[in-house]
């Protein structure tokens, strides 16, 4: 079912709506966010220069580090008294990035996530289990509100504890599962170990997000569970889940373009690319009040398709994300930058400055290993000293990344040294994109 008429507007109607909202947004940041005003002034752009949708290209680009540099409130366009919620996500180094939602933003987010659920065929007769983490992460709450909005029953199981997830799925008759695709594959392994067959479950559809999804993973999920499978996309900087979503046609992700205006740019030159070209996705929020984003570079590589979909929706579709234009990794649905890991290691005494990040897959779960060189001989006096060092590194990484890493100590001078760009990351996983 098409949840909101905005999903099937005629192109011209959509463009008129987008232009009106773009002007409002530009006015808003010009008035309330000195950061954007300064950047616009540097480019010699004023709000009145925005006359057509194409004029969005006149506006300054925003990147993730701008959120970090203005942490925590520098990019907010609404005063604290209007903000009803914070969420946060990983930054590129130690500090996270934080976003704030006004009551209207929460309403918009809920509606966008209701569209995601509805496009996957979720309705009042469904019982949906959310295996995304709740908390500062946007995934759990966003999908929670959207699914509740379409009238389905929500099981807010949160992430982890696979046996318990499966117990709820069996006992409650869960029909819809919200998780990362790799977690679902992991669940199928736990099912096999516990002798649970797909026929023991009532599962009908999966709403997958938080990470990319290969055709191979899709086939495997289909083969093991025999369920319909939809991918959705979002990022904390824009709202969280609810930016775009697949319908049951599995023919690209419909963008909620009445709220998020997409562009495709050349990731190297920053130039806007013609319609249909593959490049980096850039979004400008059109209705957000708390923290509007002007031409936010997602670093995700995709392409846009403006053809109406067989499902009846007319909103533009983006292809499943095909890669990244930076070094961000998605590990267990969490965004991880090598620079975050480096910043943590710099604070640890007794190890050298070189490190290696190794990502592998074990039973469909991502596994992160950090190798460091031990330089402090004093630690050799007892195993407790060495174990304490490993524990300290793991603990500090967990604080920043929210995930557990294996830490391996190596002899000094064993990690590869290359002048300039050393190969810090070895990703042995099957490519997700």
């Amino acid at each position: 079912m098409i949840w909101n008429p905005a999903e099937k507007l005629k192109r011209q109607e959509m463009q008129e709506l987008q232009l009106e909202r773009l002007k409002q947004t530009v006015n808003r940041v010009w008035e309330h966010v000195p950061f954007y005003r300064r950047k616009m002034e540097e480019l010699g752009v004023r709000p009145e220069h925005i006359k057509t949708l194409k004029d969005v290209a006149l506006l300054p680009i925003t990147v993730k580090d701008d959120l970090r540099d203005n942490y925590p409130y520098g990019l907010f366009a609404a005063p604290q008294r209007s903000i009803v919620r914070f969420h946060a996500s990983s930054g590129t180094t130690g500090k996270p990035i934080v976003v704030g939602y006004t009551r209207n933003d929460m309403e918009m987010w809920t509606d966008c996530c209701a569209r995601v659920a509805s496009a996957a065929g979720i309705g009042q007769d469904d019982i949906c289990q959310i295996a995304f983490g709740y908390g500062m992460f946007t995934g759990g709450f966003g999908m929670h509100y959207g699914i509740e909005r379409v009238g389905a029953t929500v099981v807010p199981a949160s992430s982890g504890n696979s046996e318990r997830q499966l117990m709820f799925m069996q006992d409650f008759g869960t029909t819809g599962l919200i998780a990362t695709p790799s977690y679902v594959l992991h669940l199928t392994e736990v099912m096999a170990q516990n002798g649970i067959k797909p026929s023991d479950l009532s599962l009908r559809v999966g709403l997958f997000g938080g990470e990319g999804h290969t055709p191979q993973m899709r086939e495997l999920i289909e083969e093991r569970l025999g369920i319909a499978d939809t991918q959705n996309y979002g990022l904390t900087e824009l709202c969280g889940p609810g930016v775009s979503y697949e319908c049951l046609e599995n023919a690209g992700m419909h963008i909620n373009e009445d709220h998020f205006l997409p562009e495709i740019i050349d990731p190297v030159t920053g130039e806007a690319l013609p319609e249909g070209e593959q490049g980096e996705l850039v979004f400008t929020t059109l209705s957000k009040e708390g923290i509007p984003m002007i031409r936010y570079r997602t670093k995700d590589i995709s392409q846009l398709n403006y053809e109406p979909c067989a499902c009846g929706r007319t909103n533009v579709r983006m292809s499943l994300v095909r890669g990244r234009s930076d070094d961000m990794m998605v590990i267990r649905g969490v965004n991880v930058f090598p620079s975050q890991i480096e910043a943590v290691l710099m604070t640890v005494q007794g190890i050298g400055p070189h490190y290696q990040i190794i990502v592998t897959t074990e039973h469909f779960m991502d596994r992160l290993e950090i190798q460091v060189e031990i330089t402090d001989g004093e630690r050799l006096e007892s195993y407790a000293g060495l174990e304490g060092l490993i524990r300290e590194i793991r603990q500090k990484l967990r604080v920043v990344l929210q995930i557990d890493a294996k830490v391996t100590l190596l002899n000094p001078q064993t990690l590869e040294r290359t002048a300039g760009k050393s190969k810090r990351v070895i990703d042995k996983r099957e490519k997700c994109f």
Partner: protein, 143 residues
């Protein structure tokens, strides 16, 4: 008196121990005793060598993470109950042993036991009071 022990970090990779022995052999340093304890991830090699300062330098130069610690060496007769007497003495003095290992020396048939404790000087006094023969570094290094 106390004896110097060298500890070397060994990552769990084939050939690492050989690199240590090669480095020391190349400098004409004799290993008198060695002991390795390992976990699945890494090991710590502990050694008594005839020239500890030179060994420390050579291994550091070869890129190993190394440390030097003072340990106690005692000689015990090679028959039942002798080690027990030494350990009882430490236990009575509330001195806990971090680890120990033994080897047979050159000069006599006595076993040499290397003991690492938190407070070596205190342990040394206790042992000497009980009449246990504490070895000098010269006796242990075998030079």
């Amino acid at each position: 008196m106390l004896v110097k022990q060298i500890s070397v970090f060994l990552e769990n990779k084939s050939g690492r121990l050989a690199e240590v022995t090669k480095t020391l052999g190349g400098k004409g340093i004799d290993i008198r005793a060695l002991y390795i304890a390992d976990t699945t991830e890494y090991g710590i090699l502990r050694m008594i060598v005839d020239q500890p300062d030179q060994a420390l330098q050579a291994l550091t130069d070869s890129g190993f993470t190394v440390s030097s610690t003072n340990v106690i060496a005692i000689a015990i007769e090679d028959h039942p109950g002798t080690l027990d007497q030494a350990l009882e003495t430490l236990s009575e003095g509330s001195i806990s042993v971090d680890y120990l290992y033994a080897f047979v020396g050159r000069a006599s048939t006595d076993a040499i036991v290397i003991i690492r404790v938190e407070n070596p000087q205190l342990a040394l006094d206790k042992l000497e009071q009980t009449g246990i023969r504490v070895l000098s570094s010269k006796e242990v290094y075998g030079t």
